[in-house]
């Protein structure tokens, strides 16, 4: 008896892809991820009132500035860690292998996970923005929250890519957080590398070139969710479309890279 070749699907099965998303969301709910985020937001809100009491002048400005910056950094940290630890467990418990043994293209796994993270990140951004609506102008907070959500989407895609590529928490977390820090500081690095006081020797020129090269392949995350939008004059008109465009391109790039790695992997 000859073995019949197994026919694998090449096209995405959206129903099954969305099932992966649904179970990922269910897992987040049962792991009390939302509760963790709520506690975090509440703790930072309380801390912001403490900071407000310490301020001698511009107390509301100080409070909003502290709260926005602290929420942004904390939510990025918590979300990225959640995505990484959720996926590392699936790899270690062989859940991925079970899913991939089904008649399902590998891209479905990547997309299914990412769609769930889109929803989670949107919820996180909304929860972070909620207390700010009480303290700052609504349109400014809305712009801040939308770009925070875009930033979280981008980092969630980065975490999915790193987990598929590295399979281990430590290298993946190191890579994602380094990527985030570089993305947030690349503009400043570019500006500092061309400082005239630093001289124009070969070392300075090489540093400036390296910074320019990095800037080509990194998203400018310093242009997202700026505290200045909340405490000063709001977001410039083009900042939201530009952030959305940058997120769309970079999320596509990271997911394509994750799929590429997953398709080439031997389990």
């Amino acid at each position: 008896m000859t073995e019949r070749p197994v026919a694998y699907r090449d096209h995405l099965d959206w129903a099954r892809t969305l099932s992966i998303s649904r179970y990922t969301l269910l897992e987040a709910w049962r792991n009390r991820f939302v509760v963790v985020v709520l506690v975090l937001v509440a703790a930072l809100l309380v801390a912001s009132f403490f900071v407000e009491q310490l301020a001698i002048t511009e107390s509301r400005r100080v409070q909003v500035g502290f709260l926005a910056a602290a929420l942004r950094a904390s939510i990025v940290f918590v979300t990225v860690l959640y995505v990484l630890q959720g996926m590392v467990r699936e790899f270690q418990d062989k859940v991925v292998e079970i899913i991939l043994s089904l008649d399902l293209p590998r891209a479905s796994y990547v997309l299914g996970k990412f769609f769930a993270y889109l929803v989670l990140c949107a919820a996180c951004a909304a929860l972070c923005a909620a207390p700010l609506f009480l303290l700052a102008d609504a349109p400014q907070v809305a712009a801040w929250a939308v770009t925070l959500m875009l930033e979280l989407w981008l980092l969630a895609a980065g975490a999915v890519f790193c987990m598929v590529t590295f399979n281990q928490l430590l290298p993946a977390a190191t890579f994602v957080f380094s990527f985030y820090l570089l993305g947030r500081s690349i503009t400043a690095i570019q500006l500092m590398s061309t400082s005239t006081l630093a001289g124009t020797g070969p070392g300075a020129q090489a540093a400036a070139r390296l910074a320019d090269l990095l800037a080509f392949v990194l998203p400018r995350l310093d242009a997202f969710a700026q505290t200045a939008w909340l405490v000063d004059s709001g977001a410039p008109p083009l900042s939201l479309p530009m952030a959305a465009l940058q997120t769309g391109i970079y999320v596509g790039l990271l997911l394509a890279a994750a799929m590429f790695d997953l398709y080439r992997r031997n389990f």
């Binding site: 891209a107 400043a188 001289g199 998203p219 391109i249 790039l253 799929m259 590429f260 031997n266």
Partner: protein, 244 residues
């Protein structure tokens, strides 16, 4: 474990990867290069707040603040003239950085060599006075900045009494074997009928010969300053024009 062959990757994934990468490069190429905004320098936070924010690394924080402060006036595309900078705030930032890292020389170099270039006598006097006050808290480590201030007072401000006061302060307070004897006799240098370039040359030569300056970046920076002085003496005052 060997990877699967490349042909197992669907064409759509290849296409998405190439298209998004090319779009990212194109987007970056079309976006204008970032430039520093000419925003006003804010007041520095309190030293205690900076210490808390440094998470136990005050020296690293001081070094970052040095670069932050430097970025305010030396970015291409903006070039804020020094006379437009608020020197009270600059002084406050420099003092905070010295609070965090008292052994650091960077803030005093910025004060004596960079911010003293301002074409505003009041601001020049203010920044030289800052150097003088900071010298008094640690004369052995900070004497060379006061020596520089003394030459600036003599040649830029034309204020010999002030220059001599600084020189005498070095002689009186920087009484330590680590301080070379010529530095304690700065008043001789001031009273001699020589130009600013010659005085600066003697100072720089003495610092280099005595091994006080070892950092190659600082040597490069100070040598370039000297060359600027020479160029300024030979033609128009270039360095001053740049700051006007």
């Amino acid at each position: 474990m060997a990877e699967r062959a490349l042909h197992r990757v669907p064409h759509a994934v290849f296409a998405l990867l190439a298209a998004t990468f090319a779009t990212q490069i194109a987007l970056h190429a079309l976006t204008p290069r970032p430039t520093a905004n000419a925003v006003a320098l804010p007041s520095p936070p309190a030293t205690t707040a900076l210490r808390v924010a440094s998470l136990g690394e005050p020296i690293a924080m001081a070094q970052l603040l040095n670069l932050y402060l430097q970025a305010f006036d030396t970015q291409p595309g903006v070039s804020i003239p020094f006379r437009d900078l608020d020197y009270d705030r600059i002084e406050a930032w420099l003092a905070r950085i010295l609070d965090l890292d008292p052994a650091g020389q960077y803030p005093l170099l910025m004060a004596a060599q960079v911010y003293s270039e301002v074409a505003d006598e009041r601001k020049q006097r203010q920044i030289l006075d800052f150097v003088y006050r900071e010298f008094q808290t640690d004369p052995v480590r900070r004497w060379r900045w006061l020596a520089q201030a003394s030459i600036l007072a003599r040649h830029r401000l034309g204020d010999m009494p002030l220059a001599l006061r600084y020189a005498e302060a070095i002689a009186r307070h920087a009484n330590h074997p680590a301080v070379p004897s010529w530095a304690r006799q700065m008043h001789v240098l001031l009273l001699a009928d020589m130009g600013e370039r010659d005085a600066a040359k003697i100072l720089l030569g003495g610092l280099l010969a005595g091994g006080t300056i070892t950092d190659p970046h600082e040597i490069y920076f100070l040598t370039r300053r000297l060359q600027e002085l020479e160029a300024a003496e030979m033609s128009t005052p270039l360095s001053k024009q740049r700051r006007h």
